[in-house]
Amino acid sequence: MIRKTVTDVQEALAGVEDGMTMMLGGFGLCGIPEKAIAQLVALGVKDITCISNNAGVDDFGLGLLLQKRQIKKMISSYVGENDEFERQMLSGELEVELTPQGTLAEKCRAAQGGFPAFFTPAGYGTEVAEGKETREFNGKMYVLEEAYKADFAFVKAWKGDEAGNLIFKGTARNFNPVMCGAAKITVAEVEELLPAGSLDPNQVHIPGIFVQRIFEGESYEKRIEQRTVRQRI
């Protein structure tokens, strides 16, 4: 067994520097690496390029890094829930690259799986395809999209073990598995870190080979963005 455990979030983020490109898992506030984000704020690293489906809300998730002007560029598919984000973008302080959600996921998976690029129909004929190679296959047009290159991937899982194996819960899975192994160093934070042998190998979602560092985070806030309920009858 190859141990991937580090003692704490400080050790997990060792080597993080200004100007790096970082992938962060999560959809909205669901399944975001809360502890890694808090540590990025504490470290005060600047000029970060973030690859993340969303940009958090004003006072949580990536919104915390935006507040401190630590992000130079955001690569996302949807950024609609964050006023500070919109302000920085419209004023030109923040660079933004909007990418179709499926393309964003696939650009991560391509990096994980060793593909330099792939063709997708998403965005053909729109401004997303401007400047990109297009090609026809079987009578339909596709756009060539390249794999991401990132320095760090920060992901959040439900359970993990010392070997770096991960299991996700519910829709908190989202972009987290496709970012594992898609950067030079993948840091996984988990709600429960278990000894090797505790997870059933049949149930592992991401094998530890894709993870370099793993640690257990304490007391996750897991904020709900849109609390919707129905009345008990």
Partner: protein
């Protein structure tokens, strides 16, 4: 004239037994409330769930189980969770049978715009570009005109496009229309709405073939 629930009710008639369906945010979400109970349908949400159920009872919300609108949801028996790449594989690979989404503009050639108003509103396309580029069946749910009273069914879209030539069917508060090479074909009128009213509210080419029936809403 239909309200938002009326539009959703009419679209629900297009949902067939055995369909996997992706519902967009807004009016499309309401469609789930009107699907016949005697057919089997599964709803997909692109953030990674198939077999979506209704909102949870108060106190049962789980921050780890949400839909693409970031709303807390439940799952039904037979449901599954998956990652974002697999989710869009379902969409891109045409395994999802029907996509229902909203739009700011639709053109008579089937172009759709729904993600950006330059200089004003930039929220992003989310999964919409992937959905419209791949879905075999796309139904647009929207109001026939915008808040300023201007037609949303145009000769050509003025806003940045989400996809080209992809919309086949549109259900608005006034009508059901199909997109053909010749333009919008008026299929049905909303209850109490005349052909003239629909003509006035449609900027793009509108084709009227004989008597246009009124929608039947059960």
């Amino acid at each position: 004239m239909l309200d938002k629930n009326g539009i959703a009710k009419r679209i629900a008639q297009e949902v067939k037994d055995g369909y996997y369906v992706n519902l967009g945010i807004g009016i499309p979400t309401l469609v789930a409330n009107f699907v016949r109970e005697d057919i089997s349908v599964e709803f997909q949400s692109e953030n990674g769930v198939l077999g979506m159920g209704p909102f949870p009872f108060e106190g049962d919300e789980d921050a780890d189980i949400i839909n693409a609108g970031k709303q807390t949801i439940t799952t039904l028996p037979g449901a599954s969770f998956f990652d974002s790449a697999l989710s869009f594989g379902m969409i891109r690979g045409k395994h999802v049978d029907l996509t229902i989404l909203g739009a700011m503009e639709v053109a008579e050639n089937g172009d759709i715009a729904n993600w950006k108003i330059p200089g004003k509103m930039v929220k992003g396309m989310g999964g919409a570009m992937d959905l419209v580029a791949s879905a075999e069946q796309i139904i647009v749910a929207m109001m026939h005109t915008n808040r300023a009273g201007e037609s949303k069914l145009l000769k050509a879209c003025s806003l940045p496009l989400t996809g080209v030539g992809c919309v086949k069917k549109i259900v608005t508060n006034l009508a059901v229309l199909e997109v053909t090479p010749e333009g919008f074909v008026l299929m049905e009128r909303a209850p109490g709405v005349s052909v003239e009213e629909i003509k006035d509210a449609t900027e793009g080419a509108l084709i009227i073939n004989g008597e246009v029936p009124e929608m039947v809403l059960n």
